[in-house]
């Protein structure tokens, strides 16, 4: 049985579902290029001793030079928190935030993530992204609150036009339950 809040959100956002499903945002290149300092911080934070990221001889032999850990992917699309040259205010995973604003669902969590990796990202690479809304689900309630799940696919390409990865984010955005 639907609660009153579920019915209210379903009614209020029904017309937005077809309007937003399939929308594409070309976010362009990231604010930063891949470089070793970020890579070192990443492997420091995950206590990752893989010699690909610490030993230049291994990196040269195995990957023909330094690469970034594949799982670092989303690092290259996040905007700087301060950038005097920023063209406009772009939030990380901008499409997700535009959806939250449009649906008036102020809270959001990532519930699932799938990444398919292609060309490695290397120091000096500048990564561009396109974000696509692939699915917006029905209204549901869980322990956090009431809202809708949605899925956003992000395609990452390097400055040579090669696809480096495609990432799919599953989100749940909601209004908190009254406690």
């Amino acid at each position: 049985m639907s609660s009153q809040i579920e019915e209210e959100i379903a009614e209020r956002t029904a017309s937005l579902v077809p309007e937003w499903t399939g929308k594409v945002l070309d976010a362009g290149p990231g604010d930063i290029e891949c470089e070793r300092g970020y890579i070192t911080h990443w492997v420091e934070s995950t206590e990752n001793a893989n010699p690909l990221y610490w030993d230049q001889n291994v990196a040269t032999e195995v990957t023909q030079g330094w690469i970034a850990p594949p799982s670092m992917l989303s690092v290259w699309m996040r905007p700087l928190m301060f950038n005097p040259n920023a063209r406009e205010t772009v939030r990380p995973l901008e499409m997700h935030f535009r959806l939250k604003d449009a649906f008036e669902l102020p809270e959001g969590i990532v519930t699932g993530n799938e990444i398919v990796f292609h060309e490695p990202v290397r120091p000096g690479d500048l990564i561009s992204t396109k974000q696509t809304v692939t699915e917006i689900g029905n209204v549901r309630t869980n322990r956090l609150g009431t809202g809708r799940p949605w899925t956003i696919d992000v395609t990452y390409t390097n400055q040579r036009g090669q696809v480096v990865a495609v990432e799919s984010y599953r989100m749940f955005c909601y209004v908190r339950s009254a406690s």
């Binding site: 001793a49 809270e107 519930t111 699932g112 799938e114």
Partner: protein
């Protein structure tokens, strides 16, 4: 260390990894992934606004830990082709996070790449925090190197 495809069997268990999660690990994970959403560094915001018990590990950093767990096993020649995960509950400072993995399947594709599919579970006590699966290419012999594959020879 180089794990070879012929040494891997369906049902093989990866060595368990245990991580004592601290506030530093959570915040450093947010910093290294350049993720400044407040629930990953601001206790007052996490508990007061997001309604969680504390700050918690962010998604990209969990991906990083999972990759590290997998390449601890394969060595540097192991190359991630695909990774999927679903968070079941947040992971908070003060918790011990355990990583366990099992080989679900192995396959050699038409390009000759040796693929290993692994199911991974991240647990806190007896609770599942995150379920994951990954597809890794590992060398089929001493001369093979999955990192040299691209284009039609790389089909993750």
């Amino acid at each position: 260390m180089k794990l070879l495809f012929e040494k891997v069997q369906v049902g093989d268990a990866l060595p368990t990894l245990e991580v004592d999660v601290t506030a530093r690990i959570v915040v450093m994970g947010a910093s290294s992934s350049r993720d400044w959403q407040p629930q990953h560094h601001d206790y007052a915001w996490a508990t007061g606004r997001a309604g969680t018990k504390d700050i918690f590990l962010n998604t990209p950093n969990q991906a990083g830990w999972i990759e590290r767990y997998l390449t601890d096993w394969t060595g540097p020649h192991g190359r991630l082709g695909r990774m999927k995960f679903r968070m079941r509950r947040p992971v908070y400072p003060g918790e011990k996070l355990a990583f366990n993995g099992t080989v679900r399947s192995t396959e050699v594709d038409e390009s000759g790449t040796g693929w290993v599919d692994v199911d991974i579970e991240l647990t806190v006590g007896d609770e599942t925090a995150t379920e994951a699966s990954a597809r890794l290419a590992i060398p089929r012999d001493e001369k093979d190197n999955p990192w040299r594959r691209s284009g039609d020879d790389w089909r993750p």
